[in-house]
């Protein structure tokens, strides 16, 4: 045994002799033998780590879209050209001293939204009531909103569709908020020319960008016509009394198209330019 050990396994300490070749070969043989035994052991040794995964199908998250259809009738119940001046933005050119009836109608599949009215000729920014779901509306819903606009000068008004809830909604009960347009309320809105600091921060963020320049397609080009005196059929000049009659006719004519209008005074929006 001692001879076998010295021949095949003995490694002399440093400086006390050389390692025999037999020792090196024996070590290699032991290593190979160990590997073979381990490989052989794999055939009859079992081990496992259990896992279980459950995955659903891909789920799609998508958004709604909100837009508003706008129709404007003048005091003669003639439609006014409303131009698509941008994405969700429509522009209408209104003449002075004429009462226009504006009808906003919810479009898109979002549950609620509102419109923002602004223009280069006046500084105030107006928010309409919610179009769509509104717990303060009759039946919890309002798909249409009507009001009137009257300008003291020719003006171009931009209607900007905005989803979500208006920042002025909390002022719903606040009758003094003249910039919040409700349906057929007796509200007067005075428009003044834009001052540099007149916009509130929330209104600036809501608009996000200034009103872009009008991009009018060829088929919808507006024409600048000289103002004509509008005469009733019988040739009489329009007096203040006649104006009131036209205004009431314009408002009453809308009652048959959608929800019933109250017999109370209409919303009159005066736009004054200085």
């Amino acid at each position: 045994m001692k001879n076998i050990y010295e021949d095949f396994f003995y490694v002399p300490k440093h400086g006390y002799g050389k390692v025999k070749e037999k020792v090196l070969y024996s070590r290699i043989a032991v290593m190979i033998g160990t590997i073979i035994i381990c490989l052989a052991a794999m055939s009859f040794v079992a081990f496992a780590f259990f896992t279980h995964d459950i995955a659903s199908q891909t789920n799609t998250i998508k958004t709604a879209i909100f837009d508003a259809k706008i129709s404007i009738l003048d005091n003669e119940k003639k439609p006014v050209n409303v131009i698509q001046s941008g994405k969700f933005e429509k522009t209408a050119n209104l003449k002075k001293d004429i009462v226009y009836t504006v009808t906003l109608e919810k479009d898109g599949n979002a549950k609620t939204g509102f419109c923002v009215l602004s223009g280069e000729d006046f500084s105030d920014i107006y928010h309409t009531q919610q179009l769509g779901e509104d717990i303060n509306a009759d039946g919890g819903k309002r798909n249409e909103l009507k009001f009137t606009i009257k300008a003291t000068e020719d003006v171009s008004i931009v209607f900007f569709s905005h989803w979500g809830t208006s920042s002025k909604y909390a002022d719903y009960e606040n009758a003094d908020d003249k910039n919040y347009i409700k349906a057929w309320d007796n509200v007067e809105i005075t428009v003044t020319p834009i001052a540099s600091n007149s916009l509130e921060e929330d209104e600036k963020t809501e608009l996000k960008t200034p009103v872009p320049s009008v991009d009018i397609p060829d088929s919808e080009e507006t024409t600048s016509e000289p103002q004509e005196t509008i005469l009733p059929d019988d040739g009489e000049e329009i007096t203040n009394a006649t104006e009131n009659e036209i205004e009431s006719e314009a408002t009453s004519s809308q009652s048959s198209s959608s929800e019933q209008l109250s017999s109370e005074e209409t919303t009159s929006v005066e736009l004054k330019t200085e």
Binding site: T51, I54, S56, T58, T60, K62, S161, G164, K208
Partner: protein
């Protein structure tokens, strides 16, 4: 030499003594060697039962098991400011060994869109997400019982998410909820152009591994 003779004598005496004892035992004791053979031998190896079951509450408010064909979030849901969607989950260990499990939400794909200001945006940038767990349904209701509570528990941006491992004993169950919402403060920047809606494709995976 004398010691060797002495030890020989002692061992001889002990041997004789042992034989005498053994002989004496034979009169009052019996020795038997029992053995039996059986022709049928069956060795049964029982593998541990490892089973994870995940269910979600469907539109009918019933627990329904999730598999590869199940859509957990409703396809009809349309997100807008203030919209919150909550999906209750139930994770059960129906096996015989305890395990650790974790929940992952993975964004498999998304489509950008153009907003009303002609800017490209990603929907997931305007969504918030949250995952909550509870041991009982009552505890879960305290976390997601109403809109405000659900919003409080969904404050993280929607991105690929992996929860921590939670232990679940054999036969035990955990309740959880996935919450996805669009904050009320999201402005028109996420109101997309008519050219195409943005979307996010979410994958839900619950993974269980045996405890070591």
């Amino acid at each position: 030499m004398e010691n060797r003779i002495k030890f020989k004598k002692i061992s001889f005496v002990l041997s004789v003594f042992a034989i005498i004892i053994w002989l004496l035992l034979g009169t009052n004791a019996s020795v038997a060697w029992f053995s039996d053979t059986s022709n049928e031998v069956s060795n049964i190896f029982n593998v541990a039962d490892f089973k994870l079951v995940v269910s979600y509450k469907n539109d009918n408010n019933q627990w329904e098991e999730i598999d590869a064909t199940t859509k957990v979030f409703s396809d009809e849901a349309l997100y807008e400011p203030g919209y919150v969607q909550v999906v209750p989950l139930k994770i059960e260990n129906k096996g015989s060994v305890p395990f650790n499990f974790k929940t992952s939400v993975i964004i498999n794909d998304y489509r950008s869109a153009t907003n009303v200001y002609n800017e490209t945006f990603k929907l997931q940038d305007y969504l918030k997400f949250g995952v909550v767990f509870a041991k009982t349904e009552a505890e879960l209701s305290e976390l997601i019982g109403n809109r405000d509570l659900a919003e409080q528990n969904a404050q993280e941006p929607l991105e690929t998410y992996h929860s921590n491992y939670l232990p679940l004993e054999a036969g035990g169950k955990y309740y959880g909820a996935l919450i996805v919402r669009m904050p009320k403060e999201v402005s028109n920047v996420a109101n997309y152009d008519v050219l195409g809606p943005p979307k996010v494709e979410l994958g839900i995976v619950v993974k269980a591994g045996q405890q070591q």
